[in-house]
Amino acid sequence: MTDHRQPPVNYIDRTRAQYDALGYAPYTWAKNADAGPWAEVSRPLSESRLGMVATGGIYRVGQTAFTHRDDTTFRTVPSDVDAAELRATHFAYDLTDARTDINVVFPIGPLRALVEDGVIGELAPDFYTCMGGIYSQRRVRDRLAPAIVERCHDDKIDLALLVPV
């Protein structure tokens, strides 16, 4: 087989084409031409407390699963959780691999290893997970994002790693 390199998939174009084919109205994606806000890193990673926010519909056994329609709730997952207790539910990506090894969308194993190696100072006690497949940007801006930001400050994290799916 020949080694054809392809550029990154253009999801916006392909979604538009798919919506067209389905007869749906085109979706208006969030666009921020401006550079956006910037928080300075105040200390090295090796001395920092790292938080993680992941989409991908991850929940822990005992928690209520996400719905598949504009669900703007989130779940608290302890950073020392047993990976065997984690589940994934979503409508927009193939869950096969996430359900085989949750680390492909929620890298708790790698993060713990990096703490052990001294690369990361420590992990926040809790990580946050949400659905992500939310069409209403207003509901993300007004409800989901502020709630997560508040938690991150309560947890006194220095840095946040964001893992979309």
């Binding site: 194993g109 801006r141 790693l161 964001l162």
Partner: protein
């Protein structure tokens, strides 16, 4: 859509004083949302942090992403990870391009995502029972969208 949601969360975190790194497998969506620091991994969606049962690769990928905290020097900064999903890029051919021809009446035939439903979608039936047990008497929390 997830990449967009995370991008919006990233901006609010930055605004509040917490630096972020956004891992991404959808380069174009991330560029449009324009978060402070982004690290792109050219993998199929559903693998933002690596491949199944490969902890060593996962560690390299996450370490590569976290390096952005030290290296990024301006908002909108993005770096490409050196890892490749497979020996060729043929996986990209079918992304959001149903191989079946679109039928004239056929929303269902071309849209292979699962239908949107308002009820919790558990991975396993047992999870629904577990959730019911741990939330007995707290149904209002669920409805108000407070996390649990």
């Amino acid at each position: 859509m997830c990449h967009q949601t995370v991008g919006l969360v990233a901006r609010q975190l930055e605004e509040s004083g917490i630096p972020t790194v956004t891992m991404t497998s959808a380069r174009d969506i991330t560029l449009a949302v324009n978060p402070a620091r982004a690290v792109f991994l050219d993998y199929p969606l559903g693998h933002t942090a690596g491949q199944v049962d490969d902890p060593s690769l996962g560690r390299q990928i996450v370490a590569g992403a976290l390096q952005a905290f030290a290296d990024a020097d301006h908002p909108g900064w993005i770096r490409d990870q050196p890892f490749r999903w497979a020996e060729n890029d043929s996986w990209k051919d079918d992304v959001l391009r149903p191989s079946r021809p679109v039928e004239s009446d056929g929303a269902e035939s071309a849209d292979d995502r699962s239908p949107r439903v308002d009820t919790p979608q558990y991975q396993l039936v047992d999870d629904a029972f577990a959730a019911q047990q741990s939330h007995s008497g707290q149904q209002r929390l669920v409805r108000k969208g407070v996390d649990y």
